[in-house]
Symmetry: C2
Subunit: 317 residues, 2 copies
DNA sequence: TCCCTTTCCTAAAGCGCTTCAGCAACCGCC
DNA sequence: GGCGGTTGCTGAAGCGCTTTAGGAAAGGGA
């Protein structure tokens, strides 16, 4: 019977058809629980997210990545077990992975936001379930990983600004602990050198943005590359308070091209990265891992700079 | 054995202790699959969301609700099966519920965004799994439901504006198909009457906001109550393009107090509704349903108006 | 002392599926 | 026609738990 349903060989063609017919007539559907028990796999993957909810809320990455994950999961008849945890509780996070794995609720994990010295790696290595890391893990990760080319977006932003005649281009990043912030910084620097420009002011802002953002204006840049739309909006607010006109006196680029970028006034020039595709690719890699197949290569599509009203030609003073 | 683990009577106190000890020593953890099979329940609840991802992205409801759900689920040892579907495919949505239920992957569903004439109700009633509706369902829902008092937020907004001396207060709502938009409209009207004011212009904006929002300015209101921060920001952009100063010439209130509200410049006065609490309550109700217990009453906390820079005293001309 | 009750624990069945062993039927070969 | 080899199907075991039935031990009353 299960041979017929699962399309295995050794069953006559018409016998199979007959069985499937009867099954359909009876409205029979295999029980996921029973299958999980015998097959020793649940067709479920786990995603444990531990971020402050305010952060998730403004983060276009989260929803877009998730939607990519789901897009990939659905046709494979896999389901997603999502666990959302308050930020900061590293112990809770580890326990969450541990519990899901010990109870055999998931077949594998998708990991996002890898950190340097991430304690999850050791735990998950011990657990032994397949894992795919979405993002570039620090040393000591035994798991396959993939990453977008988001950092190239920083180059796009700089080139765009250079093309507009800007010469003092600052960098406003989120927490320097984030690997992606560091990478964008590197690219920003590269692009400036390539244009024959020296590096402008570099500022990292976290926590209370109204206090952390203003320093970036110290060096009197004519343009600022921000690593998120959130930062860009905070900078717009600061500039406005100081009667600095945007974009005529100060050009600003955001990052992620979140919904806010369009809504903001002026609308933000921002880097769009296809995180949906990223989520789908990470999921595909995990599914491949689970089925023992070779994962197809992930060829991230290039980031795109959406040019809007927050950038314009530099006014040389 | 399972008697000991599940704390049932008929087991000696020390026998139980011994068993639990040994279990711990062996690192034994019950298999969720096996339990699911015998207990005929998975300790998993399903949440199927079908919204455009751009919409989810700006929607603070989504993440906050979800975090409330998780907060409730974790201590109960329940897990969340999340299915995110592209908007519009009503058939896909129904199929998703059907599949999760038929495979017995979930014990019950949480429904959000109920619509009038929602086809999910008929399907889920037939399926027979416990369901709790988060939001006020149209007629024909046989399921328990709960709702926040978000609509009182519209009253807060109007009262705030009236207190500032505004007399021509417009209403800018999202799609009129949304029940919550309609309710806020009713409250807006109530509050205006209570203040002895006639209703100002009412405009619903969906789709391309840059085209749909401007009409609200036709009636030359001195203040506009918006049903989302997204709309409020779109209105800010429109006003700015027309050189209408905010808040001196036009006061604007948002709704949801999303992360954008603070980031926007000017920062938006906005209604904060505790959607986390809402998600937790809905989940508690579903868990109660699942365990056959009486659900505790949900006493929604009152919405709060966060007053920021987008509203100020009316200038009478 | 014996029997009956209560208390505790052990053994076995069964949840709904997958899988493996085994058997019947059939083919073509010498 | 008899034989190994193949193909197609059936039956039973077992996944790891829960639950029920039933048995052993201990306690209490006559």
């Amino acid at each position: 019977m299960s041979f017929a349903v699962n399309g295995r060989p050794g069953v006559g063609v018409q016998t199979r058809a007959r069985i499937l017919d009867v099954a359909k007539d009876l409205g029979w559907r295999p029980s996921a629980s029973a299958r999980a028990l015998t097959e020793a796999r649940t067709r479920t993957i786990g995603l444990v997210l531990s971020r402050a909810h305010e952060e998730l809320e403004v983060d276009s990455f989260f929803v877009r990545f998730l939607s990519g994950v789901e897009r990939m999961l659905a046709p494979a008849e896999y389901a997603l077990l999502l666990q959302l945890l308050p930020a900061g509780g590293a112990a809770n996070v580890l326990e969450a992975y541990e519990r899901l794995a010990a109870a055999g609720r998931v077949d594998g994990f998708l990991i996002t936001d890898p950190e340097l010295e991430d304690p999850r790696f050791a735990l998950l290595a011990e657990i032994g379930l397949p894992v795919v890391v979405a993002g570039r893990p620090g040393a000591g990760s035994p798991f396959p990983w993939l990453e977008t080319e988001h950092d190239l977006g920083a180059i796009l932003a700089v080139e765009h600004l250079v093309g507009l005649g800007h010469e003092r281009i600052a960098f406003l990043g989120g927490s320097p602990r984030y690997e992606h912030v560091q990478r964008r910084l590197v690219r920003w620097r590269e692009a400036l050198s390539a244009a024959g420009l020296g590096g402008g002011p570099v500022v990292f802002a976290e926590g209370d943005l109204s206090a952390a953002v203003p320093p970036v204006l110290e060096g009197r840049p004519s343009a600022v590359v921000c690593t998120s739309d959130t930062l860009a909006m905070a900078l717009v607010a600061v500039a406005r308070a100081r009667k600095i006109a945007i974009p005529s006196e100060l050009s600003i680029t955001g990052f992620d091209d979140s919904a806010m970028a369009v809504l903001s006034s002026p609308a933000l020039t921002s880097v769009r990265v296809d995180y949906g595709e990223f989520g789908a690719a990470a999921t595909a890699a995990l599914l491949a891992e689970l089925s023992g197949a070779k994962p197809g290569a992930y060829k991230p599509s290039a980031p795109v700079l959406e040019v809007r009203a927050s950038t314009s030609a530099a006014v040389h003073r």
